[in-house]
């Protein structure tokens, strides 16, 4: 599986800044948000694939509000990295959004894919197909595969984030990959030919 996490800046907040943030230092909050904002936004944006991606900025905001409020309770020497803890909160915020009583009323949106200028036509097509395939997965499957493939959480971290058993994570990931592969092969038959 290809590693996809792309974090050009520091991947984790330094300990001193974290301590300051935990004490309520607004400057430290800004530093924390700067380090994690793209990852959080990307995570909720992908989890909302095909549903309400325009809400991603709002949910990223909601995530960080919760993070800042809960930060004093975060234990830096505990088992969870700060990034994993924040992504866990983001995941739950996004899943909560999808499970809201009126979630069914959210109109299905055109599948969104943020094209970059240097992408070839073929990769743009692939990106669109992946977005559509992800949107076709159910929310729980999508959460597992997004956390694994785009954020490199290990099985145990995903299990914690989604409050699942380890075996469930593995089976759900396997099913998600198979469904996504089926979709991609069907949507882009040349993929199947190329990869055999």
């Amino acid at each position: 599986m290809h590693a996809l996490a792309a974090t050009p800046v520091a991947t984790e907040l330094d300990e001193l800044t974290l301590r300051r943030a935990q004490r309520g230092d607004e400057g430290a909050w800004r530093a924390l948000i700067a380090v994690y904002q793209d990852r959080v936004h990307a995570l909720v944006w992908r989890l909302l694939a095909g549903r309400a991606q325009h809400r991603a900025p709002d949910l990223a905001q909601e995530t960080f509000v919760r993070v800042v409020r809960a930060l004093p309770r975060f234990e830096p020497l505990g088992s969870a990295k700060l990034s994993t803890w924040i992504l866990t909160i983001a995941t739950r915020v996004a899943l909560n959004e999808l499970r809201r009583p009126n979630a069914d009323e959210l109109a299905a949106e055109p599948i969104a894919h943020a094209e970059s200028a240097d992408q070839s036509v073929e990769r743009k097509r692939l990106g669109t197909a992946i977005a559509a395939g992800m949107a076709a997965l159910d929310a729980e499957q999508r959460a597992v595969i997004v956390l694994r493939e785009y954020h490199e959480l290990d099985y145990a971290e995903i299990a914690t984030a989604l409050e699942l058993e380890l075996g469930t994570v593995k089976s759900r990931l396997s099913r998600a990959r198979a469904a996504l592969r089926d979709y991609l092969v069907t949507a882009l038959p040349e993929l199947g030919d190329r990869h055999g």
Binding site: M1, H2, L4, E26, W29, R30, I33, A34, Q37, D38, V40, H41, A42, W45, R46, G50, P57, A60, Q61, E62, F64, V65, R66, V68, R69, A70, R92, V93, N96, R100, P101, A108, I111, H113, A114, S116, Q119, R123, K124, G127, A131, A132, M134, A135, A136, L137, D138, E140, E149, Y150, S174, R177, A178, R181, D182, L184, T186, P189, E190, L191
Partner: protein, 586 residues
């Protein structure tokens, strides 16, 4: 293309908005002073934390008439003051934050550590962090003492006495009904000289001259009715002294109970800091109905579902359980095949997680509450309930001191519910086909079998259409001795012995056509493959090709035989081809 080596990097997410940090910090600074308003959905008895509402209220334009009486002019920290809101307004007092609805008319006075407030009219939500807030509502209709709590106070006016003064003030003498909803903390509510302590999640009403009474919505009334109905049965009455069934927090639970009422407690598995919004931890009696509840676990909002239905369950603990005379067994089966089953008697598990077939014996010589838990996958759970002592046969057994035993058995592959599936029939036919081919020497069109598979897996009603009498007798003998899986209902089978088709070749031809963009040709090949050999993958491809070809009728035909999961996964393909779910569901 290997599942483990999917390259998903082409799906690029946009960056976060540049103003995110500013927005977060502005909101934290604002809403830390505000309240978390909870909004009650009475019809379905749901509670949701509505942080967004609090934020919206906080952000709303200020439109309030504030008349401070103290030294400080802004009204927020003045020792006393009066406010009449013409728009949603947040009012911050010392240790108390109020969100006033338009029309709310309040006055306040600071006195030592306490804040005395008079809410003359309108509605307001109060977050009290001061040691005490004393709130009088209307003209002595109700008085409230609150500390470390969040509550909402609404007034309903007697319109005949309404007086409009200035912007929105209404005379307090006109208050006809006060409604108090407590979200957090305990609140004392007094009316007509009587005081009640209002627990979180409760709603009380006070009318002038009357004591506070609890407001019951439809579900509350239904629950009370269930309690009344069951209280006449001493066995059930005794059973209500403790939970009969403990469900796990957050699961999607369906409880199948022949009596329609079961005392349920929720096991709070959250590692720490779990706050159950509904049902409250001491609310355990649940009647028939749908319940959604929300809770916070380590500060995160989560939801769970509970559905109680009055039935004996499907395929589980049905007739054999009640009518047995001795050691009849009860099949634990269903569709989809249960992933796990667990039996508890009076809350004590007698069989736990399993990956292999198992069976367990249940002896009902004493009053027993039997629950069979079936994990249907993901978080879906079914409980099938039996109260041993309330069934006639079991009462007799108790009287005569005759122990009655029941056997609960789970089959490795479960039992087909209803008739056999296509796949199950096909698997058995594949196993006997070589023997049939030996009988007929050569396949030809028109060679047909028709028969019924009985629920026990045996074959009857066999019709064999083969010209050669010897071959026919041979085939008949093979089929008659075939053993199909057990099922709940009889299955009608028609089977052709015509020359075989090559399903794989047809699939490959379909894929080639797809690659060329010739979707109608692909659909034709895929359909031929599907007809040749039923296969879920072929079904998916056929459906996709139908959508891509814009062939709504064909897409709809295949859509209707898909399970919900498959529909969910494949719907997007049709949507992207401008075929809507409504068209598919027609």
């Amino acid at each position: 293309m290997d599942d483990e080596h999917l390259d998903l990097s082409a799906w690029v997410a946009p960056p976060a908005p540049s103003s995110l940090a500013d927005r977060v910090i502005a909101r934290v600074n604002t809403t830390d002073e505000a309240i978390a308003v909870t909004r009650r959905r009475r019809a379905k008895r749901r509670w949701w934390l509505a942080g967004g509402l609090a934020g919206a209220l906080a952000a709303a334009a200020v439109a309030v008439i504030v008349i401070p009486h103290g030294a400080e002019p802004n009204g927020e920290s003045a020792g006393s003051g009066t406010a009449v809101a013409t728009k949603p307004q947040q009012l911050a007092l010392a240790g108390v934050v109020a969100n006033l609805d338009p029309g709310a008319d309040v006055s306040w006075q600071q006195s030592g550590d306490a804040v005395h407030v008079h809410q003359r009219s309108g509605a307001a939500t109060w977050r009290v962090e001061a040691p005490h807030m004393f709130l009088d509502v209307g003209a002595a209709v109700a008085s409230i003492e609150a500390s470390n709590s969040t509550l909402r106070v609404e007034t309903r006016m007697n319109l005949t006495d309404t007086r409009v003064i200035g912007a929105a003030a209404v005379t307090s003498a006109a208050v006809a009904l006060v409604t108090v909803i407590v979200f957090e903390g305990h609140v004392k509510l007094s009316g007509a000289g009587q005081t009640v302590v209002v627990q979180p999640g409760m709603t009380y009403e006070v009318t002038p001259g009357h004591a506070p009474t609890q407001h019951l919505d439809d579900v509350d009334r239904a629950l009370d009715r269930v309690i009344e109905l069951t209280s006449g049965d001493p066995t059930l009455h005794a059973a209500t002294t403790k939970p009969e069934l403990v469900i796990r927090l957050g699961e999607k639970v369906r409880v199948h109970d022949p009596h329609g009422s079961v005392r349920i407690a929720i096991d709070k598995q959250c590692p720490s800091d779990a706050t159950l919004m509904y049902p409250t931890p001491d609310t355990e009696v649940t009647g028939v109905g749908d319940y959604s509840y929300s809770y916070t676990c380590n500060g995160i909002d989560k939801h769970g579902q509970l559905k109680v239905v009055q039935d004996a369950g499907i395929g589980v603990l049905t007739a054999p359980f009640e009518n047995t005379t001795w050691t009849d067994h009860v099949l634990v089966a269903g569709t989809p095949v249960p992933a796990r089953a667990q039996v508890t008697i009076d809350g004590v598990p007698i069989a736990t997680e399993n990956t292999k077939p198992w069976s367990a014996y249940i002896t009902l010589a004493t009053p027993s509450f039997v629950a069979v838990r079936i994990d249907g996958g993901l978080d879906d759970v079914d409980y099938y309930i039996r109260r041993g002592a309330t069934d006639t046969a079991d009462k007799t057994a108790m009287t005569t001191k005759t122990a009655k035993s029941y056997r609960v058995e789970q089959f490795k592959h479960g039992m087909e519910w209803g008739p056999l599936s296509v796949g199950a029939v096909d698997a058995t036919m594949q196993s006997i086909e070589p023997a049939m081919i030996k009988c007929i020497k050569k396949r030809s069109d028109g060679q047909m079998l028709m028969f019924n598979v009985q629920p026990d897996g045996s074959v009857d009603g066999l019709t064999v259409t083969i010209d050669d009498g010897i071959s026919e007798a041979c085939v008949r003998n093979v089929v008659r001795h075939a053993r199909f899986p057990k099922a709940k209902e009889q299955t009608h089978v028609s089977y052709s012995l015509a020359p075989p088709c090559d399903a794989q070749a047809l699939l490959a031809a379909g894929s080639e056509a797809m690659a060329r963009g010739d979707h109608p040709a692909a659909l034709k090949s895929y359909e031929a493959s599907l007809e040749c050999k039923y296969d879920v993958h072929a079904l998916q491809l056929t459906f996709m090709a139908a959508c891509r070809s814009g062939n709504v009728a064909t897409a709809r035909r295949h859509w209707k035989v898909m399970n919900a999961d498959m529909q969910t996964h494949l719907l997007q393909i049709c949507l992207s081809s401008h075929i809507t779910r409504e068209q598919l569901d027609e």
